[in-house]
């Protein structure tokens, strides 16, 4: 067992750290949370800077350890997070890199890396959230196109996206996992209506998307027709395996800031609070070790993060909620003021045990795929 990095990796870290020190002070101020066009421009701008400096492909071009160093250092330096590039860089990009044709890779990957195109995720539907395979948005082949009708829900960044990674049912008579196809849908196609939805945090960060006879070229299909479920599992294992890595570093930074506030306002004298903070520190330290373990394993096997991503996701979702509940305890009555730091974070954290597969679904995955318990209801 070894936790040290190679000289090349340490050199990468030093170079990145130096670059961040130089460029971060030149960044414009981040736009307010509800200014979606502003956030799109800001997030794409940051991705372009990464591209020009040679760091853009770190999410799928580099070794897992290098990616880990990148996420650790950017987060530690307070650099912008992937933001609107989340789906492109962490879901669609890796999926196309793994499953797309050479032509598809050439068409879609460079614009993601250069910060030119934003992707959104069209997986969940009103009747198919946790039971994703129940999706009903249908598509039939008409000449060189698929014609798509239905609706999608919880589609983050849909308003400002150029592309949508879309799951459609292409064979309604097949067993439900076998009639699904993975398409890349251009968001400017005719027949698409985006209705922003307000979350309980007050922001309109996700949307309902209505699809009425939308024509998607058949060359935009990634993988075979009716083989979309397998492609989707590749996407989801990326989502659960590595997509939250940078956030763990951010949570540790928040914990330190929260400690400072507690010292200033006297809450630190409460041993119950101190113990809770100490336990959270242990929690995030252990989650970081779990990431290192999973990355080492992936580096050894060369594989995609598998069901073990669910172990991380389950524990992390809970820890993140616990972190902001503790922050509320530090804030006292101020935790009821939406203008205070961490109050919005506390609200958004409520989505973590639901998004990307609810905790209940993750437990089923762990129990059935890792522990081998029988399927059931």
């Amino acid at each position: 067992m070894d936790l040290s990095c190679t000289p090349e990796e340490e050199e990468f870290r030093a170079r990145l750290r130096e670059w961040l020190t130089k460029v971060l002070p030149t960044l414009p101020a981040a736009p307010p949370p509800d200014d979606w066009p502003g956030r799109r421009a800001y997030d794409l701008g940051w991705q372009r800077m990464l591209y020009d400096a040679g760091y853009a492909d770190v999410h799928w071009g580099a070794s897992p350890t290098t990616r880990l160093i990148f996420l650790e250092e950017t987060e530690r330096a307070g650099a912008p997070y992937v933001g609107a590039n989340f789906v492109g860089l962490l879901h669609a990009g890796p999926t196309i890199a793994a499953e797309g044709t050479v032509g598809q890779q050439a068409r879609w990957l460079p614009p993601i890396l250069r910060g030119e195109e934003v992707w959104c995720q069209g997986f969940s539907e009103p009747g198919a959230g946790s039971d994703l395979a129940a999706l009903r948005t249908r598509a039939h082949r008409d000449g060189d196109d698929y014609v798509v009708s239905g609706s999608k829900l919880w589609t983050s960044h849909a308003e400002v996206a150029d592309w949508c990674e879309l799951l459609v049912r292409t064979d309604p008579d097949a067993p439900r996992h076998q009639g699904i196809t993975w398409l890349a849908m251009p968001m400017d196609a005719d027949g698409i209506t985006v209705r922003p939805l307000r979350t309980l945090a007050g922001s309109a960060e996700f949307a309902e998307v209505f699809l009425d006879e939308v024509r998607v070229p058949a060359v935009n299909r990634v993988g075979e027709e009716n083989d979309g479920w397998r492609v989707t599992m590749v996407t989801l294992s990326f989502e659960r395996g590595t997509a939250f890595v940078g956030e763990v570093v951010a949570c540790r930074r928040t914990l330190t800031e929260l400690t400072r506030t507690a010292r200033e306002n006297g809450r630190w004298d409460d041993p119950v609070l101190r113990r809770r903070v100490g336990r959270l520190d242990a929690e995030f330290r252990a989650l970081w070790r779990l990431i290192q373990w999973n990355v080492s394993e992936a580096e050894t096997t060369g594989g995609v993060p598998g069901a073990r991503g669910s172990v991380f996701k389950l524990r992390y979702a809970h820890a993140r909620q616990e972190l902001y509940d503790t922050a509320a305890e530090v804030l006292g009555p101020d935790c009821l003021d939406l203008d205070r730091p961490w109050v919005l974070d506390r609200l958004s954290a409520l989505s973590y045990t639901i998004a990307a597969g609810t905790s209940q679904i993750q437990r089923n995955i762990v129990a059935e795929r890792i522990l081998g318990l029988p399927k059931g209801r």
Partner: protein, 291 residues
């Protein structure tokens, strides 16, 4: 960075597991439960001969010359097997108490106002004067209470880490026991593991084991006090909560003396008390954050 077991470490783990299967299998465990307070000197010598206590002593001093990571793997196996005795204290004494390394001497230590195996020990480290026997909750760990102010070792010390490794072993074992039972025990015409309520208990058992495992192994690599405090908090949770959930999965059978579950839970409680318990580790980590 290759944060995975090396082939040598895998081999060592397998070796210790096979040794413990041979010399401390289920029947020996049951015999030991039936004769509380008696430390099996033959077993202790066998452990000594196998290098369990001398694992980290340099080869020049007659030891095995391995590191903290290997010791952690060995103690994890000891936890799994419910191996009784003052294992940590004797291991830590291997360099300076004659006979400890070979298993000829049994060494115990005063820790947090309590001494384990006082009656069976040849050497006691710390002041045990005035010790009064307790009616120990764990049938395989006799306990004495020591009067006076309670003194703890460092929250990030090696004794704490080796205890965490034992807790990890317990956690992994009770997870296996729960899953085995959930797969085979039928109610309402199907294995109980098919019911989501049971399935989710088992999933949570595994999640706690996995998180505790990486925390314990990382602490063995870095020997950093904060990593060790982290390891103990996660491992205590995995062992204590894990044993309770395992008991729950076993239902009525779990509440009987015949099932092994209660032995795991009781030992996990005893270990969770060592080194100041989780409180000391929590306060230690909290103070590090403001430092």
């Amino acid at each position: 960075m290759r944060f995975q077991l090396t082939d040598d470490q895998e081999a060592l783990r397998t070796g210790v597991r096979e040794l413990l299967d041979r010399c401390f299998g289920p029947e020996v465990l049951r015999t030991a439960v039936g004769a509380p307070g008696r430390l099996d000197r033959t077993l202790w010598r066998t452990l000594g001969d196998a290098g369990f206590f001398a694992l980290r002593l340099p080869e020049a001093d007659g030891g095995v010359g391995r590191g903290l990571a290997e010791a952690v793997l060995a103690f994890e196996e000891a936890g799994r097997a419910l191996l009784p005795g003052p294992l940590v204290a004797t291991h830590l004494a291997a360099g300076d108490v004659p006979g400890a390394a070979t298993g000829e001497a049994v060494v115990t230590a005063v820790d947090g106002g309590v001494v384990e195996w006082l009656g069976a020990a040849d050497v006691v480290r710390g002041d045990a004067s005035g010790a009064v026997p307790l009616h120990s909750v764990d049938p395989l760990t006799p306990l004495h209470r020591v009067p006076g102010p309670v003194a703890f070792g460092p929250a990030g010390g090696v004794a704490v880490l080796l205890t965490a490794a034992e807790q990890l072993g317990t956690a992994a074992r009770v997870c296996e026991l729960a899953v085995q039972h959930a797969r085979t025990r039928e109610q309402f015409g199907r294995p109980i593991g098919a019911f989501q309520a049971v399935k989710h208990l088992c999933a949570d058992l595994l999640v706690r084991v996995e998180v505790a495992r990486v925390a314990v192994y990382a602490a063995a690599v870095t020997a950093d006090p904060a990593d060790i405090a982290t390891a103990r908090l996660l491992a205590d949770e995995a062992a204590v909560r894990g044993a309770r959930d395992c008991l729950q999965v076993h239902g009525g059978m779990g509440f009987t003396w015949e099932a092994d579950v209660h032995l795991h839970l009781k030992r996990a409680w005893v270990r969770a008390h060592r080194g100041g318990g989780g409180t000391q580790s929590e306060e230690f980590l909290a103070e590090r954050l403001v430092a």
